[in-house]
Every structure is written in structure tokens, then in C-alpha cells.
Symmetry: C2
Subunit: 340 residues, 2 copies
Amino acid sequence: MVTMHDVAARANVSVATVSFVVNGTKPISPATTSRVEQAMRELGYRRNPVGAALARGRTKIIGMLYPALQRPLSGTVGGFFTSAAVRAQERGYQLVLWPISNESDEAMALADTGLVDGVLLMEVQLNDNRVPALVQGRTPFALIGRTADPEGLAYVDVDFGATVTTAVETLVALGHRDFCLVTGGSRAGRFEEHGPAERSRAAFLADIEAAGLTGAVRYCLEDSREGRAFGRAFRDEHPDVTAMLLLNEHAAPGIVIGLREAGVRVPEDLSIISLGSSAHMANMVDPALTFLRSPADELGRLGVDTIIDRIENPDAGLPAVLIPCEMVPGGSIAEAPGRA
Amino acid sequence: MVTMHDVAARANVSVATVSFVVNGTKPISPATTSRVEQAMRELGYRRNPVGAALARGRTKIIGMLYPALQRPLSGTVGGFFTSAAVRAQERGYQLVLWPISNESDEAMALADTGLVDGVLLMEVQLNDNRVPALVQGRTPFALIGRTADPEGLAYVDVDFGATVTTAVETLVALGHRDFCLVTGGSRAGRFEEHGPAERSRAAFLADIEAAGLTGAVRYCLEDSREGRAFGRAFRDEHPDVTAMLLLNEHAAPGIVIGLREAGVRVPEDLSIISLGSSAHMANMVDPALTFLRSPADELGRLGVDTIIDRIENPDAGLPAVLIPCEMVPGGSIAEAPGRA
DNA sequence: TTGAAAGCGATACCAT
DNA sequence: ATGGTATCGCTTTCAA
């Protein structure tokens, strides 16, 4: 490996000088600069980030912590990751996706050892033991998502309350009065921990009550086969429901197929709005779903901005951003049956 | 930050001794060991991997290089990544997903600087300029996928030839004689570079010719809306085709929806086999697709084993593994029309 | 079994 | 505008 020493020797300067031209840390005469640059070129020098990291205490790397084992990487995460990676590069950082388990130790062990300058935590649960662990450490972090009480934390998240309200209002305007919210979650029994599902549920129940409507809440695993079974059984279990809010894009195609198998027509018999989805997923379903678009790209960018700001300016205020989803028309909603 | 010095001082030993107990490098008396361990506990010591990496020249980190900007992370990649991450951990490494562009420089710049011990290259193209760049460097690497001529490279890949042959044989046995292969690719004009598509195409044409059948090859962008348009137009463009091989799981639901809109029934009028897909994706379609299961998990594991073997034993042989997809029954194939 | 000390590669302070 | 050098945290050889 070619080191700064080699370059320095070749250019007849000191390592300090080489470092200065490499980093632009201090003014160096054009003559020396070009001599050094030529030496680097000839030798094929490439700065060793490990050495730099040790000396500087910074790596210019941001770790996006993702519980890959519990929650297989899907297209949604891909959206976050891609936009976040682009933004990081724009700001001179590298973003890497780091798989961790849900246990707190691992997150810390990585975060707190200097390998990354900061950490972006994904799939935050309402009661997430990784968060207190990170608070204890000295590595800056930010959340994509938020805990039950995100006071004092830097986060960006979807505004599920506003999103649900938009959906409910849209359907109420079409005459619907009997609702069902279907959320997801990758393993039974831990749904209460899932922020998006839980926040949507709370907003849903509040909206329903405020408007004097009826509303059930159901869970369905995030898998198309589960969706099929769920859809097949739905009408029998909820004969009166005419409007469904679906926070489960992976099960959505299966659910609609199951409904059709059971003789339920969408949207004539049942209107559906998919919450937090994308055009690609919505068009996998027939009819194409009316959906509220997840602001994945915006959140990815904002998340990166947030964590970098915290790294570079730890004393600034704590950003807390909520972005609502925006309605995209589709073919899955109609006037309530017997009203047209 | 608590360093080894702090621990050493607290335990009244030298830093060398602390290092020995931390790494188990040398035998240390039980008494000293427990004194050191207690000191570590009391101080909350955590070894700094940057320092370790610099001293040792190894980081125990494997970088999975992925062109996230060109090819948004999807569920398929998630499968690779998850199984690969698990396997890496089992073998004492960390696996991180590193977004890179398709340009060679970036891959190298990262790989060749000591931040990662080895590199796993994803989405390898037939003619991939990142590969010669990696060959020049001194960082071990392996491919998931392979170039046109993978001689001398370590790789694991799907056996597309065998997969296509299985599909064709299955359909021929049902009396089909007019085929169409539909592949994907995220941007027009670069399909020739896409290994899976190109290898499938070659195998397809060879099988078709050998059996005296007719076979068209079409491309469709990997998006459900594109799939819908494609499906709608298909019958007019290929009135005689009764059997479709589909190497494009993201467009699959849209294609079937489009076909139905155009009055084409699956499987009565047209049989479909999806190549390299998963149960989850196959069940997003109605009828559930008959598919050849992508060995994503196996490839992820094997890829990691391969790169770690190369890191730890560079002189061993170059593994070159091909795994065929395995048939999973579904509802999308039937006897050729007018044959039953 | 334990310790002293020489690096690993780069940074940045203090001189010149 | 340059250079000498201590330093970052840890590993590892060589001695004791």
C-alpha cells in the first residue's frame, strides 16, 4: 500500500505537506502542490480512511441501522435508503446500511466505537430499547420514525394522524359510515410496538368517534398469501363495512384478490384507500388503488440532513419533522353502496 | 472514551495484557483475566475498531456493493442482503450494504483503502467495468452474478440456462409450441448488459430452436404500470403465443391485469411461468403464478462464504457456483388451448 | 504469564 | 509556506 510517506519521499516534501494538499487544510504553493499531486498520481496513492479516522476521530460515514433480520428489506426501505444515500453524498458523507438486531447492545456496540460519525435509526418502535442505549452513548443519532414519547430526540416521520384523517374525510364525503382499518406487522403479538400501526389506529379511532361512525381495527401479516386469506374471510367477519383503510401495502394485492374470490367487488361493495404506499405498489392491484403516497424520498433526505446537522453542530435545536402522505387518485373508492 | 490504557491502569496491568484478554491472543492467568474483565465492566470499555483496524490491517467488515442509484433496492435484494448478513455474522464478520454508482472508480476507492476486508459485488453486468477495477486492486472480492466471461473470478449466480429449460420443458409437455420470453431491465437500451436477461434469452432461443418451436423475446420495464400497458397490448402483438416466460416479477402483476383487461384469460388462453421469483410476489397475482423460485437466500449465504474464504485463504481455488431455480406450482399454467 | 515498545497511516499543533 | 513530531487506540514482537 502506498502511504503518505511514500508520496512525501517522492515529492521531496514532508508528510505534513502531503496531508495539507490532500485535505486542503493549509495553503501550499502551487509549485509544491503540483509536485505532490504528480507524485500521488505516479504512485497511485489513495488515502487510507482508517488512518485518517483514527487521527481525526471522524470517518465521514453515517450508519443507517436497520433490523434486517426481523424485518426483511422491502421496496419502501429501498426508497429511504436510496434518497438518503444520494443526499449523504451531496454533503460529503458515505451512507451505509448496517444490519442490526433489535437488541440494544448491537446498535450501541457499533455506534459507539468511532466507526461511524452518526447513526440513523430505522424501524423505530414505540418502545424501543435501542433509543435509550443510543442516548447513553456519545454518537449523534436521529430517527426515521419515532418512539411513543420522542421528546428530546431528533426525528423525521410520517404524519400518520393527518394521513388517516385525510383518508377518512375522503370516504365520509362519499357517504361511507362503516370503516375498517387494516394494519400490518411482521409478527403477531408485537403490533402494539409498531409506531405507524399504532399511531394510525389511535387517529382512526379518534376520527371515527368524533364523526359518530363505526370503525373496526384488524391486523394482517405483511404477506400476499396472508392477505388472500384475510380478504376471503373479510366479508363474513365485517358484513357492514363499506370502507377500508389499508396500512399494509404488501398484503394489499392479496387482500383484494381474496375479496374478489369471496364475491366482494372493489370499489362497488367496498372502497379501499391504501395508506403510505407508492404508485408501483398501488398498480399491482386491480383496480389500481387510491393511495396516500409515502414521502419516503423526502424522509430519507431529511433524515440525512438531520443527522449530519447534529454531527456538525450538536448544539443546534432538535429537528422534529412530520410529513403527511399525499392523496393519489385510483380506482378503488366509490360512493357508499345504496347511496348513489 | 474509555481506552485500553484506562482499563490497564485500573487493572494494574499493561495494555498488552488487556489486548491479550480482549482478543484471547495469548494465555493469561485466570486471576489477571478476571481483574481485567472487571475493570472493563466497571469502566464500560468497548474496543475501538478503528484503532484495531489500523493496527491489524483488517476490519472484519465486508462491503456489499450495490448500485442503489441505478437500481432501486427491491425485495429480491433484501433477500440476498438478509441471508448474507446472517451468514457474515456467523463467521465473525459484519456485512454492510454500500451504495455505489456503476462507475468503476467509486467501487475501487472504497474497496482499496482498507475500510473493508473484502467486497461482494451485486448486480454484475455482462460487461462490467467495476470488475477489472477490482481485479487491479488488492482487496479480495466475489460476485453475486457474473460477467460474460467469468473465468478467473469467484462468483455465485443463478443458473438461468437450467431455469429456462425447466420452464420450457414444463410448458412443452402441456402442448405449448408458441412462446414468448419477457425480461426486464430498469432502463431501455442497456438490456444487453443485464446478465440474467441476456443469459435467459440465449437459453430460451437455443431451447426453442432445438425443439422446433417458435419463440419471441420482449422487454418490459420493471414497474407495474409499465406491466399493465404491456399486458394490454400483448395479444395484438403476439396473437399466436400461448406460453409466456416472465423474468420480471415487478411487472408481473401489472402484466396479468393488462392481459385480463384485453380479454386474455390466464391460464386458459395464456400460460405464464415466472422465472426467479418468490412465493410472496407470485401470490400478488390472480391467479397465483406458477414460478421458479429464486435461490436468493442460498446465494446470499454462499456469496458471503465465498468472499470470506477468499479473504482468509487467498490461495485456495476460485469457487464458481450456479444454482438453478426450483419449480413451485401455481395456477397460471394449463394445457395449450385447443388441445384438451 | 506479563510488559515495553515499535509500529499501523494520517492529522494537526508548534516551529521555523 | 513548510517541516518535525506527538498523537489517535490497538496489535504484536521480543524480552524478561
